[in-house]
Symmetry: C2
Subunit: 339 residues, 2 copies
DNA sequence: TTCTGCTATGACAACGTTGTCAGTGGGGGT
DNA sequence: ACCCCCACTGACAACGTTGTCATAGCAGAA
């Protein structure tokens, strides 16, 4: 592998001069610069990051640790958002996936430290509270989609409260007065937040969500969840005072609600409006009718978190409170005013 | 940050002895070892990978470059598979996503080289041919889900031929004699391969796939695809000699076919059997009836590719031909014998 | 001419680690 | 008693880069 010295030797200059050229130091004559640049190109010289890092004592890499990727595939958009901003700063990303296992997590924090990462992001696939045990790791850390119980770390979260509000308001504005809710797993923090938003929208319309029309669409602990939205929706829709619209905790739940509606011969959106959450394209765009939903802004969250991390690394001021990212309404074909 | 020398000073030994301890060199007395290990723990010493790498001239990091993550979310399982095997070898993964843009790709190859990565994986989100332009990068490269036109690189691919065969055979064995096909995008390599498999299964049953029952379920160039499976399925199912089963190019297509069936009042699987491809859990497990499908073994492919890369890095023998990974049948509720 | 100030360049050390080689000291064999 | 061998330890250099400081050369001012 070509080194600085190789280039210097061939160019008849000192290593330091070559270093100046590749680092764009203006203190080099145009002549020398041109000659060296030609040589760099010819020899295919690429600076050794490890040596650089050792000398300058500062790393351009950032660690990215996630729990389980598998369950909610679209959350990988966080990675895209992170990457986008890291590129802008010329940083590289070291990625690791703990699979939710503590011992792996510790191992990876250690690894990030061994790499002397300038900072790290910790992302979860569900919006939840976590207990970060990164004693080994001393650089700044930003949490994405989760928050630290002891508020020791900066965090970026989806605005689930407003998201729930948005879902309900969209239906209420259309004139729906009897709305059902097949919610996300009650153990998730998102559930309570969204419910508050849904209640607020109802309050503004001088209505109240009927508790008899509320069911969890998913139950069980993380990693052992079970979808029960199909059965829940059947119950809701078989009742005598059927809702004209159903708010769903996520798009898979919406899919099951739609299957239940089909099973009962109800047409969507004519007989029943359905609104989802997450905006998982594989479902929302493929489904007929296409699913109106509220999007989880994973990409935006990744970007926001990375900007925050950049600030922390640079020692700039950052907000004390978790940063909330808006969940936008995506209107498609599954909602319309009741008959 | 604590260094080897700090530990050595506190322990009253030489740096080299500490180095021996952390590298598990047996040539250290038990007494010294115990004392040093205690100190390492106390001071929170973690070896500096950059320095190590510089001294030993060999890197434990591997680069992982992908094109577009977004479109087929489950393909991130490749990452999980890769990670699993990398951990086993104590390697770290540097990840980058080109978004399909050439200039970013070149930038990342350069970055991998700057990090002196021991090797790299290049994964695409669709099974396709690629033109790798990694002149900058001289370590071994393994392609995942794609292959090099000039066969310069090792590759790991899904066995689409057998996958198509599996789909058709499952239906034929159940007694279906009139089978429709709503295929993946014809520009994808998978399409032709699977079709050959489907034809083979028909041949073995002394049947032939009726070309009038074949439609593409998706059209358009990569990045600008359009799902047309819903309309295709309507056509197929409205014809007078309706198929009793439909083979789908992927699970989203199956979702649309199911919507079309519902629209026409056909019940699945009673009136129509449907088999998907990919096994995107968000769809296959949420849908009612749950979708029988053939799984794309992303996780396995990631593992296999990494094992291959490990071999290449170690200079061991590797197969000349692309390695094919089997696509297993996942039986759920959407297929049954025709009435 | 001599001095000042500036541009352009280089010599050298250091970052943290490990490979090489040279000890040191104690136990066992003769 | 002597020597040899072996287990253990340390001094030193080197990996590739850049920060610090020194210096050479030259233009312009005095």
């Amino acid at each position: 592998m070509t080194t600085l010295k190789d280039v210097a030797k061939r160019g008849g200059v000192s290593a330091k001069t070559v270093s100046r050229v590749v680092n764009r130091d203006p203190m080099v004559s145009d002549e020398t610069r041109a000659a060296i640049l030609r040589l760099v190109d010819e020899l295919g010289y690429i600076p050794n990051d490890a040596a650089r890092q050792m000398r300058t004592q500062n790393s351009r890499t950032v660690g990215f640790l996630t729990d389980v990727i598998a369950t909610t595939p679209y959350s990988v958009d966080i990675v895209r958002g992170v990457q986008e901003e890291l590129r802008a700063e010329g940083r590289t990303m070291l990625i690791a996936n703990s699979g939710g296992m503590e011992e792996h997590e510790a191992e990876y924090w250690r690894m990030f430290r061994a790499q002397r990462a300038a900072g790290a992001l910790y992302a979860t696939m569900f919006h939840r509270a976590v207990d970060i045990n990164a004693v080994e790791f001393t650089s700044p850390v930003v949490l994405v989609n989760c928050f630290d119980r002891r508020h020791r770390f900066a965090a970026v979260l989806p605005d689930d409260f407003t998201g729930g509000y948005t879902q309900a308001k969209h239906l209420l504005d259309m004139g729906h007065r009897r709305i059902g809710l097949v919610s996300v797993n009650p153990i998730l923090r998102a559930e309570g937040l969204r419910r508050k938003g849904i209640d607020k929208a109802h309050g503004e319309a001088r209505l109240e969500l009927d508790d008899k029309l509320v069911r969890p669409g998913m139950v069980g602990n993380i990693g052992a969840e079970r979808l029960v939205a199909y059965e829940a929706a059947l119950e809701l829709l078989k009742g005598k005072k059927r809702p004209t619209a159903i708010i769903c905790g996520h798009d898979q739940i919406a899919l099951q609600v739609m299957s239940a509606a089909a099973e009962l011969g109800l047409r969507v959106p004519d007989d029943l409006s359905i609104i989802g959450y997450d905006d998982q394209h594989t479902i929302t765009e493929a489904l007929r009718p296409a699913l109106t939903t509220v999007a989880l802004p994973y990409y935006e969250m990744g970007r926001t978190a990375t900007l925050l991390l950049n600030d922390l690394i640079a020692g700039r001021e950052t907000p004390q409170q978790p940063v909330l990212v808006a969940c936008p309404l995506v209107i498609r074909q599954s909602c319309r005013p009741p008959k």
